[in-house]
């Protein structure tokens, strides 16, 4: 299959303008004749649904939570980037573009990233006009901070609740369209299949999570904005309901899945305390601006931290990366934390944690300043751990946080199935092999507010779409398949709970396809996962019925898909014989332990095609070229 990225063949600065000009327009009077399905109401989904509704299309929007406002975008704390250069510190669209391409370790498509940097300007304008209460300076103008090691201050934030406020802005715009009758919202509806008719995406099959009814919805096109699949690791910073089901079913219907092994592990999360743990909580990365990360020099040192003298502490990031110190990128920080814990120098219960110590910062700046900067985060930490971080250093450990991989899309955000658009974290995105802090929010909103509304119109105007409704046999058969799948799950009537399987799967993926990977480990995982999956289908117990509110059943379906996805992740990780960004293969590193890219052989997007249950998926490559930013070894020394 030829993967055509459809990037305009003009200089990068003009590309998006050119594309907008080339696109066909839908006559305003005709817009209301088109039905559009948007699955997902996070930043990407809500902004797309609201804007399309406002343009006059008939939109149906779905989410699995009880309200669109609860999509997991709500949890983003840190901030959103934009190349506004309000700080006059040398930022520009090109610099944001450059940083993002470099941060992604040269595995992203240049033209997409450039457009993203351009649109970042409009996003901030839009959000402020909607009433997002971004932090202000005393003069009343917007404040910025630097984030994730960027050398300019370009991150806009609303306390530690940036994602929440941006999402509420989009949600409110969405509700406005709901009231106007332009968008019909289906909350507590989970998409369980995509319906493809004559090669085009024409609808979805959902389960009403309250009544359990299987329902079909037809439309002229489908947009998936269903977020990331980080929950494949069981423990992650994602919400419990985050799932891969929507994109996985699309994959099985023919959409290519790109770079599944590119996952991001965030260094500053609160470590696991026990078996029962259900969820990991992220602590904003901004903590690394003032906190110092260390472990004891000696293995198995169980003294309380304040009894460990200065010269017996190893500030390993400062030691190894004197220039960036504690502010090295996420993947570097995470990997190093894992390394010291693997050496047996980790702290806290289970030995999987490192200290993030504010003692020196409090001494230097005073408790008040620290309180002002991080008060919320300290409170949150204390609430969860019962320890006071003003007195005892925090303990942190990396956790799965973001998935760069996702469905492959072209420059117009359309997948390989015509009429299936993918936005936000669900697509393979503009972040390459690693995401810079504060740029996922930017991408979700760029996709939803400013890209899809154009490209969707172009698709509708340039294609003659037959009318279809849900009586079409393709809907009937998809519904039957979904029902059959559910019945299969319920009929196992085994002895083990869904969670126990998910936990086991998660550990497997975390150990072998997490922060660092080896060919050997991946091969082992590829052997283990199918075994476990088989066991799942033999021994899982899903209580209750299908025609009712049944949370066990919801989970069971999601975990079934994670099993299949996990395998694809490992396959992808195994085939990519290089280290890049979040994908660290231990075999490929420089003598001092840095990721070693192989641009000659792997400078491409790996897009996998589903070929049936019994066949291995086929690999397709979209070669990446870099005309504007020269690939170079990342170095944070």
């Amino acid at each position: 299959m030829e993967l055509n990225s459809k990037v305009p063949d003009v200089p990068i600065e003009q590309a998006w303008d050119r594309r907008k000009f080339e696109m066909k327009l839908v006559n305003p009077a005709n817009k209301r004749k088109y039905n559009i399905i948007v699955v997902g109401s996070g930043l990407a989904g809500a902004s797309a649904a609201a804007t399309l509704g406002e343009l006059g299309y008939n939109v149906q929007c779905f989410c699995y939570q009880d309200s669109p406002r609860r999509a997991h975008s709500i949890a983003a704390q840190g901030g959103i980037n934009a190349a506004k250069n309000y700080q006059n510190d040398g930022d520009s669209v090109f610099r944001l573009f450059y940083d993002t391409v470099k941060g992604g370790d040269f595995r992203a498509r240049e033209y997409n990233v450039y457009r993203l940097a351009q649109l970042s300007l409009n996003i901030i304008d839009q959000c402020v006009a909607q009433g997002v209460p971004f932090a202000r300076e005393y003069g009343g103008l917007l404040e910025n901070r630097s984030f994730g090691g960027a050398q300019v201050s370009r991150t806009f934030y609303a306390r530690g609740q940036t994602g929440q406020q941006l999402l509420l802005g989009a949600y409110q715009a969405l509700q406005r369209q709901v009231a106007a009758g332009q968008v019909k919202m289906y909350a507590r509806h989970e998409m369980l299949d995509l319906v493809v008719i004559d090669g085009r995406a024409r609808g979805i099959v959902t389960r009403d999570l309250i009544t359990g009814r299987i329902e079909s919805y037809a439309a002229d096109l489908v947009i998936l904005a269903t977020g990331g699949y980080g929950n494949v690791y069981y423990l992650s910073t994602n919400a419990k309901g985050c799932n891969a089901t929507a994109i996985w079913r699309a994959y099985k219907r023919g959409a290519l899945f790109a770079n599944p092994c590119f996952t991001q592990i965030h260094p500053t999360c609160i470590p696991v305390t026990g078996e029962y743990q259900s969820k990991l909580t992220l602590m904003s990365e901004s903590l690394r601006n003032d906190g110092r990360i260390w472990v004891p020099k000696r293995k198995g040192d169980t003294r309380p931290p304040d009894e460990i003298p200065e010269d017996e502490r190893d500030y390993f990031l400062e030691r190894k990366y004197p220039a960036f110190g504690n502010l090295v990128p996420r993947d570097v920080a995470s990997r190093n934390a894992k390394a010291v814990c693997d050496e047996g120098r980790g702290v806290g219960p289970g030995g999987y944690g490192v200290y993030l110590d504010f003692r020196d910062a409090i001494k230097r700046l005073g408790r008040e300043v620290i309180e002002e900067r991080y008060g919320n985060l300290f409170d949150m930490y204390e609430r969860i751990t019962g320890e006071d971080p003003y007195r005892v250093p925090m303990r942190i450990y990396p956790a799965s946080h973001y998935t760069m991989g996702g469905l492959w899309v072209d420059y117009n955000l359309m997948s390989t199935i015509p009429g299936l658009f993918v936005a936000g974290e669900a697509n393979f995105s503009d972040h390459g092999a690693n995401r810079l802090g504060a740029s996922a929010l930017m991408q979700g909103l760029a996709d939803g507010y400013f890209i899809l509304p154009y490209t969707v119109g172009d698709y509708l105007a340039s294609n003659k779409l037959e009318k279809v409704d849900t009586t079409h046999p393709a809907f009937r058969s998809a519904e039957a398949e979904v029902a059959c799948n559910i019945k299969r799950l319920l009929d196992v009537r085994g002895s083990r709970s869904v969670d126990s399987f998910h936990r086991e799967l998660g550990k497997l993926v975390w150990d072998y396809c997490g922060m660092s990977r080896t060919a050997e480990g991946l091969k082992y995982a590829l052997k283990k996962i199918p075994e476990l999956r088989e066991q799942y289908w033999r021994e899982v117990r899903v209580p209750g019925e299908s025609e009712e509110f049944n949370q066990s059943l919801e989970k069971a379906g999601r975990v079934a898909d994670f099993f299949e996805l996990a395998e694809l992740m490992c396959l992808d990780a195994l085939h990519r014989n290089e280290s890049c960004g979040g994908h660290f293969r231990e075999e490929y590193q420089t003598p001092d332990g840095e990721a070693l890219r192989n641009d000659d052989e792997y400078c491409y997007v790996a897009a996998w095609e589903y070929r049936g249950e019994d066949n291995a998926p086929a690999l397709h490559k979209e070669p990446l070229t870099f005309k504007y930013v020269q690939p170079a070894q990342r170095s944070y020394k």
Binding site: D66, G131, Q164, K279, S500
Partner: protein, 268 residues
């Protein structure tokens, strides 16, 4: 530690429901309340019974999905905390806990501890937004906002729509929730043009949904996990009365408010 739980079990909206007694054994103090329920549920599943249904998603206190009453207090005994962030170290061995769903006419029970809060979405849809066409916004720095106002707006905007205020209020009022949104938008210059219309539309919708009224009792403020202050309710009253006074808005609800009517401008 070991606990005794009395949990509201209700199969579906039609079932009358009842309290059922469970024992939670070997609970670690580090668990969150929901993790404790997970443990109970695992046991129920092992025994072939249906697990207790409760809403949750982010488990970090921000999505607003979780929430139920613990011993008659919404989100349990800790101030400024959602149940998903409530840890078992706040309980003692042998404690007896009553766990019930939010009770409000506007929040019908779906199952066990799960209720339908879509009324909140309709209140927002009635006017809890600033109308701005995508792409039509002026430069973000074109409108300065005093830092103090931005901070106050942020305080109010922190509401997670969990519904605890309604559940706790002896009158079943949604005044804190609605007031929070009215205050958030009303404190910002961008929110001024629609301020009158918003206040009336949202208050009317809130009333239509069947929420009770506010007699300034203040229990809502005490359980709000985001510590939204009663101030926002006064603001809502003020804005509503102002709108009624200026007379551009019909302050009652005899006819349905058309959703997309042109916004009446206003001074202030």
């Amino acid at each position: 530690m070991n606990l005794i739980l009395h949990v509201w079990r209700q199969k579906n909206a039609k079932d009358p429901g009842r309290m059922v007694r469970y024992e939670a054994r070997n609970i670690s103090a580090h668990m969150s309340f929901l993790e404790m329920l997970d443990v109970v549920n695992e046991e129920l599943i092992a025994r072939g019974e249906e697990p207790i249904a409760f809403d949750h998603d982010c488990r970090e206190g921000i999505c607003g999905m979780c929430g139920f009453m613990i011993n008659g207090v919404a989100h349990g005994p800790e101030r400024g905390t959602t149940v998903c962030q409530l840890h078992m170290r706040h309980f003692k061995d042998g404690d007896e806990l009553y766990i019930e769903p939010w009770r409000s006419r506007a929040f019908p029970v779906i199952k066990d501890l799960v209720v339908d809060r879509s009324a909140f979405d309709r209140i927002i849809a009635a006017g809890g937004y600033i109308s701005v066409r995508t792409g039509s916004a002026p430069d973000a720095n074109a409108i300065p906002v005093p830092k103090e106002n931005a901070e106050l707006a942020m305080d109010a905007a922190a509401c997670i729509a969990c519904g605890a205020c309604v559940a706790q209020c002896p009158n079943g009022s949604a005044a804190l929730f609605t007031g929070a949104k009215i205050a958030h938008l009303g404190l910002l210059p961008q929110g001024q043009p629609e301020r009158d219309r918003r206040a009336v539309a949202m208050v009317v919708q809130m009333t239509k949904e069947g929420f009770g009224h506010c007699t300034n009792i203040g229990e809502c403020e005490a359980v709000c996990p985001k510590e939204i202050k009663l101030d926002v309710i006064a603001r809502m009253h003020r804005d509503y009365l102002h709108a009624a006074w200026t007379g551009r808005q019909k302050p009652g609800f005899r006819e349905d408010q058309p959703a997309e009517e042109p916004m009446a401008g206003n001074r202030r």
